[in-house]
Symmetry: C2
């Protein structure tokens, strides 16, 4: 089909759409290669645009593109944690984990490349983005648990579990996504209850919380 002047074969993208398209192309490249092995040429080619256009959107070059991609992934991850403060607590955690694991599943090795770091473009700024997601996850959990002043033992337990979930995601991608997503999700929820129960033996605040978590009305 030859494109007619009045009906172009492609629609002109708005600035925001173009930016999103470039980030999406970058993310899909990061999904298969380490960020330092992805060039702006590659991104231009993947998005079907010229290299100057990529530079127009990301004048800071690769580092800026990488950080923007990381920020966009981080924002998407944060939306996974949005869960109404209603109903029993453990199913809420289960639903949030479902969304998080779907993100991991969808971004595949790109999740590893983006969040594991260890690349030459890793800086204290990119670490701060990733740490921000971890902190947001901890805050969401504590807000659902309705603990306004979490003590050090409870906070440490929640943060350790979040790190363990992150490790599980990376291992899961590495192990051909075994066990199946639903099993991994349930297993992680069970681990959450298990580590909280251990902390409960050392901390009254956590003990009260575990009681609530496991009561038929709430947990």
């Amino acid at each position: 089909m030859s494109p007619a002047a009045s009906t172009p074969a492609y629609r002109r993208l708005s600035v925001e759409e173009r930016r999103a398209q470039l980030l999406e192309s970058a993310l899909s490249l990061f999904a298969h290669r380490a960020p330092e092995e992805v060039s702006l040429d590659d991104v231009a080619e993947a998005a079907g645009v010229s290299r100057p256009l990529v530079y127009r959107y990301f004048p800071g070059g690769k580092q800026q593109l990488y950080e923007a991609a990381l920020r966009s992934a981080a924002e998407e991850l944060r939306t996974c944690f949005d869960e109404p403060h209603e109903g029993p607590l453990l199913p809420r955690l289960s639903r949030a984990l479902d969304r998080y694991l779907a993100f991991v599943d969808g971004h595949d090795a790109g999740f590893t490349a983006l969040l594991q770091g260890g690349s030459v473009v890793e800086t204290s700024r990119t670490s701060a983005i990733v740490d921000g997601v971890r902190r947001a996850a901890a805050e969401h959990i504590l807000s659902h648990l309705e603990v306004t002043e979490p003590g050090p033992r409870l906070r440490m337990t929640v943060r350790m579990w979040i790190t363990a979930v992150e490790a599980a995601s990376l291992i899961w991608l590495d192990e051909d996504k075994q066990p199946p997503l639903a099993e991994l999700r349930d297993w992680l929820v069970e681990q959450f209850v298990a580590v909280l129960s251990v902390t409960a033996n050392r901390d009254a605040q956590t003990a009260a919380l575990v009681g609530r978590l496991l009561s038929p009305a709430d947990g």
Copy 2:
């Protein structure tokens, strides 16, 4: 006192001793500042030697020094895991954790700087050093558990716990080393048993192991 020619005030260091001294100076600087903020001048000053001498030992400059310091810390960490294959299993884990936490305690913020990464000198090579320590820890644990062919669920559980221990160490340093080291150690051992017990419900191999771990003769 004026030094006499026949009895110099300082002893000439051997190549190995000098190298170790420079690494020690570098590590103590990394303990208080991010690696990218430590210059070779600083290392020379801290070690009380000339800058050219530092360059003679580390002709690759800061990156080489950083990697050497990381490797030296990694080796020291690995020796923490050396534990005779004798006696009940949980006390063995407890003793290894004691040595590991003493290392964390002794290196303080340097542990964070070295192992957390997130610095401009972080490369895939330095990540590989840190990952090597994590893998060594997992292998040690599995060898003590006398599991020759660990299934994916058991391996994932062990690796998740190791990541959680690492997270706990970083948080512990961040929180003025609270709770006290001995309590942290016992708490981490209890978490190990707790997460294995959860996995035991989904995995026969882990179930057999937990049975052994908790039997009075072994655990």
